[in-house]
């Protein structure tokens, strides 16, 4: 009875896992097929000949290397800037005392309800007016202050006992030194979680690049992929190769840091 139940659980788990992960398998398999093999019935579940040329084609027909580089720059800078503003603000909100602290904090948290789509109208004008339209900077700047991450980090900072802070102060540390020598090293797991969530959201960002860039040279991967589809027509083996390029870095990130990511998501959900 017990083994039967266990077998059933494994079967269901495997079936479910296959369904959830299947599109990724299919994407990868299709990306290695020839054009003829892609369009055959019944479909084949393993390529007859490995067509790595599809990847070569994608890289040669569209500047995926540039997209990749842009994505890395945008993700790298926006994650580091966001971490910086988040650490400083979370520290002020959790440890420093000043008039209006709780009001400013609650008001900020209230702003979390505003959907990003509502902001693009004005942000677009702002970007144009300060002359940043179609630059990588404009892909970074609007996302350097995250209420959500500040909120999470503030809660973590709150959980650090007062006695640690006062020990450090008595030991002669200023607030600034305390923050960087004690608080930040202690918050490493929380910071890693935040950085990972932020990197995922930033890497996959599509709407803002669609609106705020208009030349090929400034595109990031998801928008680049979409543009590639519009430009080079529907050739699924090539599209799948391009999609694989976009998806693989995040899959690797997820496999490496699954614990952090799942932990972070279960605490607050994935938000921009």
């Amino acid at each position: 009875m017990k083994t039967f139940r266990l077998i059933l659980i494994y079967c269901l788990l495997i079936i479910g896992g296959l369904i959830m992960a299947f599109p990724f398998f299919w994407m990868f398999i299709s990306s290695l097929k020839t054009a003829a093999e892609v369009n055959t019935t019944p479909p084949t579940f393993w390529p007859q000949r490995l067509m790595f040329e599809n990847y070569v084609y994608a890289f040669s027909k569209a500047p995926f290397l540039t997209y990749f580089k842009n994505s890395l720059i945008v993700v790298g800078s926006s994650v580091s800037l966001t971490m910086l503003t988040t650490i400083l603000a979370a520290f002020a909100f959790s440890r420093l005392k000043f008039p209006g602290r709780d009001f400013i904090f609650s008001a900020s948290v209230g702003m979390m309800m505003v959907p990003f789509e509502m902001l693009i109208i004005t942000n677009y004008t702002t970007i144009v007016k300060i002359g940043l339209m179609d630059t990588l900077t404009d892909l970074i700047l609007p996302f350097t202050s995250s209420i959500f991450y500040t909120y999470i980090l503030r809660n973590f900072f709150f959980s650090v006992p007062d006695s640690i802070y006062w020990s450090a102060r008595v030991d002669g540390a200023t607030n600034w030194r305390y923050l960087w020598r004690i608080m930040v090293p202690m918050a490493k797991p929380a910071l890693a979680t935040i950085a990972l969530l932020n990197a995922i959201v930033s890497w996959n960002s599509f709407l803002w690049p669609l609106i705020a860039t208009n030349t090929t040279a400034k595109r990031t991967l998801p928008f680049g992929l979409y543009a590639f589809m519009s430009a080079s027509g529907i050739r699924y083996e090539r599209l799948m190769a391009a999609a694989t390029i976009v998806v693989v870095p995040m899959i690797i990130l997820f496999i490496l840091f699954r614990r952090y990511i799942v932990e972070g998501v279960s605490r607050g959900g994935l938000k921009g």
């Binding site: 006992p161 640690i164 006062w166 450090a168 102060r169 008595v170 030991d171 002669g172």
Partner: protein, 353 residues
Amino acid sequence: MQIVLEDVTKRFGATVAVDGLSVTLEAGKLTAVLGPSGCGKTTILNIISGIVPLTSGRVFFNDVDVSRKPPEKRSIGLVFQNYALYPHMTVLQNICFPMEMQKVPKRERLARVEELGELVQIQSLMKRKPSELSGGQQQRVAIARALAKRPEVLLLDEPLSNLDAKLRLGMREEIRRIQRESKITTVFVTHDQEEASSIADDVILLKEGVLQQKAAPRMLYNEPENLFVADFLGTPPINKLAGKISNGQILLDGSEIAFPLETEREMREGQEIVLAVRAESVFAGGEPLFEGTVLERYALGKDELVLFSVGREQQMRGFVSAGCPLQEGEKFPVALRKTGVFLFDAHSGERYA
């Protein structure tokens, strides 16, 4: 360094944590701050360290008013109840941190760590993280870190309360030894009267933020200034017999027992009093004041105690020797010694004898 608190008051909203406290802590001595939970011990320590700003009053270190100096400028070392070691740093880094903040050169730092490691005996633990240490070891590291920058005052907030009973005794002696060797002015917060008595040169006893008495432990035990002090110290707790003054004599409630007692001050006829008697000040025979009936006999450590009734309503405890033949239910004559017997006003707690 001598620490003087001058009319120090601290309010948190409506609660008065410390109320008009004026006291002097002698240089080079170990002073214990003692009192029940919530009486303001931690608050006093935090006022001395500068963590908690004063509501009113002043704090002097050797005639220098430090009331407005932030903690880092007060030359103090602080050990919290939970030790507050930096969890991401090794023992070595923890101890070095205060010196790093003072920009002490690395060679000097390491020499000092060596010295402190020897003093608190943690030489072999330098590479470990706090999570890999036992409570007692963490405690030593915390003391070493507090002493690292050669503070003039060492403040300890219930440093032993997280340790098990046996370790507590050992660490108590250890702290005493470290204090003697370093001759640093030390303030030690505790709610354990026995701990305070065994470790301190002086004890400050508090109740609800108000100073009750400051004296050497012996003094506090032998000459309590009020009922609270008498009651707070001693194991088993002091016997308290309620009564009143009747015809110039003490008449115990619920009995016809009456006897005279010499007082320093005049007493009113009918004044309600408490006669407080230490358990070791009770004995059988001699010149008995009244008769007691043994209710129970039990052991307390190596000693034996009898619980006996006094009149119809009251009870008290007394030590007896192991060879004493008293049995439960037996009546015996009760006498009191000259020491360890006090008379207090029942309402104000003031001492009359």
